[in-house]
């Protein structure tokens, strides 16, 4: 039972952290929704896990030990999320490159005598 309590506390702390981050506008909207969903899901999971409420679900997926199912889906989520992040990062660096290049061209135009 101690483990369940710990899981509940951790998920509540995580929920508080994500709400705080959203209120301080440290996250863009899509990511804010994403993390809010994740933290609410972990809170619900940690509340349900001790009562065996998700055991039928894990049985459906053929996973004998319910907490393992949480791990598997958690891992899947993390992989997909980091992939999405690296796609976003690549897009941002491509945009940054274009911006820096155009800035350099504009600066050169201003430097030219008579350039406005």
């Amino acid at each position: 039972m101690k483990g369940d309590l710990l899981a509940a506390i951790i998920s509540l702390v995580f929920l508080t952290i994500s709400i705080r981050a959203i209120r301080k506008k440290e996250l863009t909207e899509v990511l804010a929704i994403c993390w809010l969903a994740v933290s609410i899901a972990t809170v619900i999971l940690s509340a349900l896990l001790p009562f065996g409420a998700i055991t039928p679900v894990s049985r459906f997926f053929g996973i004998a030990y319910p907490p393992d199912m949480v791990l598997v889906f958690g891992l899947l989520f993390l992989v997909l999320f980091t992939f999405q992040l690296s796609v976003a990062l690549s897009r941002i660096s491509a945009r940054q490159k274009t911006l820096v290049q155009e800035l350099a061209l504009l600066k050169a135009q201003l430097d030219r005598p008579g350039g406005e």
Binding site: R91, K97, T98, V100, Q101, A104, A108
Partner: protein
């Protein structure tokens, strides 16, 4: 090509010189270009250098395109091509800022370019002229790249890492739009071929670099090989521009 035709071509040429912390050699490079390619415009792309590259290049009489952040060689060179395109130049020449390429060799590149026989002409160290010697481990790497690129580009290339090249308007427009980021010299050959451009190699003489070190050495060489092979084989040319 008559001297008059060459002079006319040079007057419509933008010489793109990417430079990252090349304060020691950049002025010499700019002056050498002005001396051997009279009438050409020199555009030094200062890739976020931390030394006095920008001041030296400007004092030597070059146009300076100064990048606020270090973009790496690909982003820097592309800036030069964007400049050449927007300023309406007919030709562009790429010359490294470290003094490795000799501007007095440029007329060898222009022969086929001006005659309209090629869209890109690359100066190769390995076609018989000059006596450039590369360290042994680099030679193996170059051989390997040569094989990969020759296979993907459907014709033989001997000096895939050469950054000494001349482009016509069509090639300038392509590279202003699409240019690989990380190891652009090698990838851009395949890229240009994929877009149906005619790419030609001609023999040139190159010097060993005067100052600074190659951006690629040691363990990075291995990474370089893997990345290039991936990029060239998959055809992902170092990231989409968006």
């Amino acid at each position: 090509m008559t001297p008059a035709e060459l002079a006319d071509a040079y007057s419509k040429t933008c010489v793109v010189v990417p430079a990252y912390n090349e304060g020691k050699s950049i002025a010499q490079v700019v002056q050498a270009v002005q001396e051997h390619m009279p009438g050409a415009t020199v555009a030094v792309v200062n890739d976020g250098s931390r030394d006095d590259t920008e001041r030296c290049a400007r004092e030597a009489g070059g146009v300076v395109l100064s990048l606020s952040l270090n973009l790496g060689i690909g982003g820097a060179v592309q800036t030069g091509y964007k400049y050449a395109l927007s300023q309406g130049f007919s030709y562009a020449v790429q010359i490294d800022g470290d003094g490795q390429h000799d501007p007095s060799e440029t007329h060898h590149l222009f022969e086929s370019l001006v005659a309209g026989q090629a869209d890109i002409v690359i100066g190769s160290r390995w076609l018989g002229r000059g006596n450039y010697v590369a360290p042994r481990n680099r030679r193996y790497g170059m051989k390997f790249l040569e094989a990969v690129v020759s296979w993907r580009a459907h014709s033989r290339f001997t000096d895939t890492t050469s950054g000494f090249r001349a482009l016509n308007r069509r090639a300038i427009a392509l590279f202003a739009e699409h240019y690989p980021t990380d190891y652009p010299e090698v990838e851009s050959i395949v890229l240009a071929r994929n877009y149906g451009l005619r790419v030609l190699e001609v023999p040139v003489v190159m010097k060993a670099r005067e100052h600074g070190t190659s951006s690629i050495r040691g363990l990075k060489t291995l990474y370089f090989m893997v990345r290039i092979t991936m990029a060239v084989v998959i055809g992902v040319m170092g990231g989409e521009d968006s």
